[in-house]
Amino acid sequence: MFKSFFDVSIITGAVLGAGCVVLSYLGNPVNSGICLSCFLENLAGAMQLHSHVRMSYLRPELIGFVLGSFAMATATRRFQVTGGSSPIIRFFLGFFMIVGCAVFIGCPIKMIHRLAAGDLTACAALLGLMLGVWLGARYIKAGVALDRVRKLPKINGYIFPLFALNLLLFLFMKPAFIVFGQTGPAALHAPVPISLAVSFVIGCLAQRSGLCITGGFRNLFLVREGTLFKGVLAAFLGALVLSLVLGQFHLGLNGQPASHTSHLWTFLAMMLVGLASVIIDGCPFRQVIKAGQGDVDSAVTCFGMLTGAALVIGWSIRSTSAGPTFYGKIAVLAGLMACVVLVMYYRRSPAAVR
């Protein structure tokens, strides 16, 4: 009982949930204390990959996650450089995961934060994500798996942490080509040292525990194993308790920040995120953590997510408070189609599975 209480995934979940609320309380956008898709959209804007200045800011949290994961993996000798498994497929699934997140307006972590803050529109997202993960688990059971991972020379694993380190330099040096928006969500941010510290700790813990929102559901559906799921529950409870304590809990369906009431599209979008996450083994947050610990495939996925983050804004394949755009809806359907084609192609013969 005592050991289970201090399980590292539960601690990671609790810190992650609490971190979401604290960062939001200290200045990050409402209900968006930690959101990988929003942060990547901000990063893409800061790098001038899109021109929406209100969404352009170099979020320190992204840097903290990668460096935290890298530090923990190196310190515990878990920095293992692997890759070579269907890189272009992972790139495009990373892209589609961000499309799904943009149509819902948030990644799975933000979904938990929104639920914990009383935003009932996120219920459809939860159901969609669960169905997507369940489908993914069924596909895995049926023998779907991407190409085999292999060991790579160490230098490959250092590239993504170095990219994060470079962003850290940009954050402090503020070169002219990096855009820091002064209005809108870009202007809303917690103090940089606090963001960096919180995300570094979360990055360390997440590397140690392997916490993944979709992974928690996947393990539960696939092998009835609940360690990661306990972490997901802890994230929700951590965020809920702090939301109540800090007066950030507003129960309701209407008038919730950065939300819309097109529940069907929320459902489908998060179904896409859930399904894609299971195929490439990890939600957007987990991909960032894995990229920090030497997983080159995840680094490729992260660059796919960054491309997605730029294009969802540039091409308006996303949702606003008015609901999803036409192109957003089409992109979600295209993502689901891509997933179905992939699982059909990558299904090994039943004999091989046995």
């Binding site: 956008p29 409402v30 209900n31 968006s32 959101c35 929003c38 959209e41 209100r54 969404m55 307006i105 948030g106 040096m173 503020k174 070169p175 002219a176 855009v179 820091f180 928006g181 002064q182 209005t183 809108g184 969500p185 202007a187 809303l188 209407n254 008038g255 919730q256 920040p257 950065a258 939300s259 819309h260 009431t261 606003t320 408070s321 008015a322």
Partner: protein, 187 residues
């Protein structure tokens, strides 16, 4: 012997490349430091600062106040009908002018035309989200929330009486949209 030569070759290869790397790092670092020092001397680089942005907003507001000076005068006098027709006339030439739509929303609200008022505010916010952004001097979230809190009950009552009325449903949706935008978030 061959192995020894190979090792010697590797050593030579490594030494030269390490030296090249050190030179490259030193030159790059030196250039960055020099550039940073130059920029420090000239503070006008990079993203516009808060003061520049504030100035831009002030200029923008002054320009709009000039364009709509007659409307503002009529509003002050309480002649809302005339003011509305004047705004509509200006908006014909500047259909995407969020400031004009905000004025229109305010005038409709004073006339008691809630549905039209809410629609105008929504269009204004869609065109220029700065009107619901607390970090800008354009912020009118409190003004809109005041209208919303008085309009919500009335519209819900009307919806019960006329459930098929699409205009009322649209106005309710507009209210929810405005509420979501004022609530903030990452959008």
């Amino acid at each position: 012997m061959a192995n020894h030569m190979e090792n010697e070759g590797v050593d030579w290869f490594f030494r030269v490349n390490t030296a090249v790397l050190i030179v490259l790092v030193a030159v790059t670092a030196g250039m960055i430091v020099q550039h940073e020092l130059e920029l420090k001397a000239d503070s006008s680089h990079g993203s516009p600062g808060i003061n520049t942005l504030q100035k831009r907003y002030e200029e923008q507001l002054a320009k709009k106040a000039w364009l709509y000076k007659d409307v503002l005068y009529l509003e002050k006098k309480g002649d809302f009908d005339q003011a509305v027709s004047k705004v509509l006339k200006i908006l014909k030439d500047h259909p995407d002018d969020a400031y004009g739509l905000v004025l229109l929303g305010r005038l409709y609200s004073q006339q008691g035309q809630i549905v039209k008022s809410v629609r105008s505010y929504r269009r204004a916010v869609e065109l220029d989200p700065d009107y619901v952004d607390k970090t800008t001097p354009l912020y009118i979230g409190d003004e809109i929330m005041k209208l919303i809190s008085s309009a919500r009950g009335k519209l819900n009552r009307e919806k019960k009486l006329k459930p098929e009325d699409k205009q009322i449903q649209t106005a309710i949706n507009d209210i929810y949209y405005l509420q979501r935008r004022i609530a903030g978030g990452c959008e």
